[in-house]
């Protein structure tokens, strides 16, 4: 965009100077001719100065458009930012080409060198021969023959030859981009050079073959169109991110601790306490991630606070902390980069000037290969057209806006009520479950034990339906309505999640009070132990107490981790079960009961379910949010998520292919892409907030986890700096982290952001401005092209035109409302032909004429 701007403005600059000179000369000449009218004329000339540059601009623009079609295509092709794969291919090919050209060059030079020796003795004949050869070689270039005798080469020719070779290479590269039939391309290729190495392309082929699930997605794409496929592409992208998060936590946290850390049972935090031992292996307990699962590398509490473990001296606590920070940082980076790329791609097309044409020319999805999808697509295109026409009509007249406004406010109010209600319900349920937990879960029914998760899942299932009903009140355009709907579901999920977190915070506080009591008790217990041993054994040898018997605090970090893991598990289960019941069972029933039912089940009430792209994407986003939130306290979460995504990929692919019908409203995928990404970013931000809060404000548990014994979790950085780095480094670091330095730095960053933002805004404005100017110039060009014929026609019709009135109908458009421009153009035109014109005020014309053109009345 920037590049385009600068070239355009450069053009404007140069043409302006040029025109100023012209106009100046003109003025001087005219000054002597029309002294009387000079004053008026001067004003006009000034105006002309202002916009003759546009004229020149438009000339060159039109010239490009019409006469240099081929060149333009080539230039465009070089400039284009299309698929990066393609570009890479081309870059490789170019490199290849260059290296080959170099090789040839060397060869030629070698031969030249040999020739140089012999040449000195030779006579003038040689020179003539050379000239002949030169002509020959030119001919050869034309006849596309590459075999040039090296004996006849001078550096100049060599240069030429190289250019010719390059040209050929370029031609080959551009062949595939030419809209020629294959025969022509083949012939051209055979005439020119053959490409020898295909290594890069083979590698490219290999790379495309390595993309997972490509065929599956292609198959879905061909059945359901690109919007459903976009969900699966999103899923795959998510899978990739989770794979990396999983690699980080697994490789740098879980495996080192499992291999090099102290083994299970060596210290209290790594042992199942005596009271739980009996039930530690029960499936019900393991399913809730209690028992042996709780005291394993899966959760925070298992990690010991040894500074360095194993023969590698692996800094475990530091690694744990950095991995936690790294996962979040990596996720931010990836999301923001993707968003920026999406914005870049769609940024070109955000203007609304081709609304109808796009609907017309680009709305068919050529991937559709299924009759039902095709029918739905027909219907959706038709409604799209009808809506567009209606919108166009309605944009001119908006009636009863008050009613719509009232209804929209009402709808939003209702939705807010729903949100508040669901938030309260969750808070209530969580508090109640805490009461149950205090009593002990054994005394309660299954429902009471799983109330929180069930209520959250149920709310997530039914509230969106309610929102859907409410949104019919609003009467929005479907795309806008979809975004509102998504926003509301988003708010609902987020509200639920945050209520859940607030309730968790309460629980953390309870646990911490408990911890204080336990801490006190432990000192008492140790003292009594110590006293006891003193009295019994005088040598005070360390008494061995089994680690399972040591009293310990309630590790709140593990509790948080467990809560999140349970939430993920129940969420996954609900998703899969709704998939199986809502989609598969329904499809089976509809399919087989249809024979013996009183109405048509397939077309009538239950019918087959649709694949809900937006809902599924939202579910995925929220799932990811929970992973980000809980991953610090439960390193196993990314692993679980990878598993879940892997299963959903296959399960949903299968479900879509076997029991879903295409959506009735087929939306384009690309339109809402960045919308989803923005949601992901918001979720990422909101899920890092509670994490940062807990890390910064709450001291870690005293007897579990890698940070036990420290006042705050981030103290581990400080510790490492002090003990593992040279003194000067920690000094530098402490200076660097001084608020006096950090604050100005942040301020600088804010200023930089502000500056960049405002420049980008101004670029955007300049772009819009230039676009407008371009449109105007096109309009003016049209008038200029039209003018001679119009004037001539008029003259032919009026034999003695001197002093007569004439009128010209000029095409009218949105860009060129002001007719004084056109008058000015006519004036300049006539001035050049040394004819004087005077303009009159407009006559009255009927509306039909005025709509399409504006009449100009003048006399010579």
């Amino acid at each position: 965009m920037l590049h385009k701007n600068s070239t355009l403005s450069y053009c404007l600059q140069s043409t302006k100077i040029h025109c100023l000179l012209l106009v100046f000369a003109h003025t001087v000449r005219e000054f002597f001719f029309y002294r009387k009218e000079y004053k008026l004329f001067y004003q006009k000339i000034l105006l002309i100065c202002l916009f003759i540059p546009f004229l020149n601009e438009s000339m060159s623009f039109l010239g490009d458009e019409q006469f240099e079609g081929g060149n333009k295509e080539k230039r465009h092709r070089e400039k284009r930012r299309d698929g990066s794969k393609d570009r890479r291919k081309r870059a490789n090919a170019k490199r290849r080409e260059r290296s080959r050209a170099d090789r040839e060059n060397e060869e030629f030079e070698e031969r030249l060198g040999k020739r140089e020796k012999g040449r000195r003795g030779r006579v003038k004949n040689d020179q003539e021969a050379k000239k002949r050869d030169e002509q020959d070689s030119e001919d050869k270039e034309n006849s596309e023959d590459k075999e040039v005798k090296p004996e006849s080469l001078s550096p100049d020719e060599l240069e030429k030859l190289k250019e010719a070779v390059d040209e050929k290479k370029k031609l080959i590269q551009s062949l595939r981009g030419k809209p020629w039939p294959m025969k022509k391309k083949l012939v051209t290729l055979q005439e020119t050079l053959r490409i020898q190495s295909h290594d890069d392309q083979d590698f490219e082929n290999f790379k495309t073959a390595c993309i997972p699930w490509e065929m599956k997605i292609k198959e879905i794409e061909s059945h359901f169109g690109s919007s459903v496929a976009s969900y699966f592409i999103f899923l795959r992208w998510m899978y990739g991110i989770n794979m990396i998060l999983f690699g980080l936590t697994f490789g740098l946290v879980m495996v080192p601790e499992a291999l090099m850390g102290r083994p299970y049972g060596s210290i209290p935090r790594k042992t199942v306490p005596r009271a739980e031992e009996a039930s530690a292996m029960d499936f019900a307990v393991l399913w809730d991630f209690g028992g042996y699962a709780q005291y394993s590398v899966l959760f925070y509490g298992f990690y010991s606070n040894q500074r360095a473990i194993g023969w590698l001296k692996f800094r475990m606590p530091l690694s744990y902390f950095l991995v936690g920070v790294g996962t979040v940082a990596y996720s931010y980076m990836v999301v923001i980069r993707t968003m920026a790329r999406n914005a870049n791609e769609s940024g070109v097309g955000d203007d609304n000037s081709f609304n109808f044409s796009w609907k017309m020319f680009t709305s068919w999805d050529y991937l559709i290969g299924n009759p039902e999808t095709a029918d739905n697509k027909f219907a959706s295109i038709t409604t799209c057209f009808k809506e567009a026409i209606l919108e166009e009509q309605e944009s001119r007249k908006d009636d009863n806006i008050h009613l719509t406004r009232f209804l929209r406010v009402l709808a939003n109010f209702l939705v807010l009520c729903c949100l508040a209600g669901s938030g309260y319900l969750i808070y209530f349920v969580v508090r109640r479950s805490q009461k149950f937990a205090l009593d002990g879960f054994e005394n309660h029914t299954w429902w009471e034990r799983n109330e929180v998760n069930m209520v959250m899942s149920l709310l997530g299932m039914f509230c969106p339906m309610l929102f859907d009903v409410i949104s019919t009140l609003e009467n929005y355009h479907p795309r806008v309505a979809l975004q509102w709907q998504l926003g509301r579901i988003f708010a609902l999920f987020l509200g639920n999640l945050y209520t859940f977190i607030i309730a968790l915070m309460d629980e953390i506080n309870v646990k911490r009070e408990e911890e204080n009591i336990v801490k006190f008790n432990i000192t008492m217990w140790e003292a009594s132990l110590y006293n006891g041993t003193v009295s019994e054994n005088f040598t005070a040898s360390p008494i061995t107490i089994h680690p399972a018997d040591v009293p310990r605090g309630p590790c709140w970090e593990t509790m948080v981790g467990q809560e999140f893991v349970r939430l993920i598990i129940s969420d996954t289960m609900t998703t899969y079960i709704t998939l199986l019941i809502g989609d598969f069972l329904r499809a089976v029933l509809v399919r087989f009961l249809n024979h013996c039912w009183c109405w048509d089940l397939e077309a009538g009430f239950p019918s087959y379910s649709e694949f809900d792209v937006s809902g599924n994407v939202l579910g995925l986003i929220f799932n990811q949010g929970m992973i980000w939130m809980g991953a610090f306290y439960a390193p196993c979460l990314p692993a679980l998520n990878v598993l879940r995504l892997h299963v959903s990929m296959y399960l949903q692919c299968w479900a879509v292919m076997c029991c879903n019908v295409p959506q009735e409203r087929v939306f384009k995928a690309s339109g809402s892409n960045n919308f989803y990404m923005a949601m992901l970013l918001v979720i990422l931000f909101l899920s890092t907030l509670p994490n940062i809060y807990t890390i910064v404000t709450i001291p870690p548990s005293f007897d579990c986890g890698p940070f036990s014994g420290k006042n705050r979790m981030f103290d581990v950085i400080h510790e490492t700096l002090e003990s593992d780095f040279p003194a000067w480094f920690s000094k530098v670091f402490s200076y660097a982290s001084n608020p006096g330095l950090v604050l100005p730095f942040i301020l600088l960053m804010v200023l930089a952001i502000y500056y960049l933002q405002s420049t980008s805004k101004s670029y955007k404005e300049a772009n819009v401005e230039l676009k407008k100017k371009l449109q105007m110039v096109i309009q003016i060009m049209k008038i200029i092209l039209l003018l001679p014929t119009t004037v001539n026609n008029w003259r032919n019709n009026n034999a003695s035109f001197q002093g007569q009135e004439g009128e010209i109908l000029l095409p009218k458009s949105r860009q060129l409302e002001n007719e004084s421009y056109s008058c000015l153009i006519i004036q300049t035109y006539c001035l050049r032909r040394k004819e004087r014109v005077t303009f009159f005020s407009k006559k009255t014309y009927d509306n039909e004429v005025k709509k399409k053109s504006f009449p100009v009345v003048f006399s010579f």
Binding site: G69, R80, M182
Partner: protein
């Protein structure tokens, strides 16, 4: 692929690879698919022309409202019957592959939409195009009034030189700004 692939020797294959936006596998797959359309007695001829009716039965094209136009545009047959030989078939797949450039795609899209092959999209072409897009069913077709308004709006937007038709450069100008043309103008075997 075995026996069929042997017909497509490596030299030819790499030539095709160089000239199209397709990968080696895609070309082989295309050859396989094309070979199935060729009747038994004609097996050894790579330049056999598959008649349009057979091409239209391909599941990738079967439900495409522009299938006849696609065949007509890509066919190099002298008889203008829309029949495709293997070269044409590859041309067609290359233009619709996901790595083809916007220029090539918009060029072919223009010719597909240009129903009367006169080099411009006039009102009749646009009308046919709308009819193709809205399907054959009665409930989805537009009234003549709506049709007229739609065409008016389209011409107002994209007919820059205001000659009442949309020519290739105007068409490409409009298309190049569209966010999702390249992604939707795709056919994958």
């Amino acid at each position: 692929m075995g026996a069929t692939a042997s017909q497509l020797d490596t030299g030819k294959l790499s030539e095709y690879e160089e000239l199209t936006f397709l990968t080696k596998q895609e070309i082989l797959l295309a050859y396989d698919r094309f070979d199935k359309l060729v009747p038994k007695e004609e097996k050894n001829r790579i330049d056999y022309r598959v008649p349009m009716e057979d091409i239209l039965e391909l599941p990738e094209l079967k439900f495409n409202p522009f299938k006849e136009r696609i065949c007509k545009v890509f066919s190099t047959s002298d008889k203008k019957d829309g029949s495709l030989d293997f070269d044409d078939f590859l041309d067609f797949l290359s233009a619709f592959s996901d790595s083809a450039t916007l220029e090539i795609k918009s060029h072919y899209a223009f010719h597909i939409f240009d129903f009367d092959d006169d080099g411009t999209l006039d009102r009749q072409d646009l009308k046919k195009l709308i009819n193709c897009l809205t399907g054959k069913a009665d409930k989805t077709s537009l009234t003549p009034d709506e049709m007229r308004m739609l065409i008016d709006n389209i011409l107002e937007e994209s007919d820059i030189d205001q000659d009442g038709t949309v020519n290739l450069s105007e068409f490409q100008h409009v298309i190049s700004r569209s966010p999702d043309f390249v992604s939707s103008f795709q056919i994958v075997l």
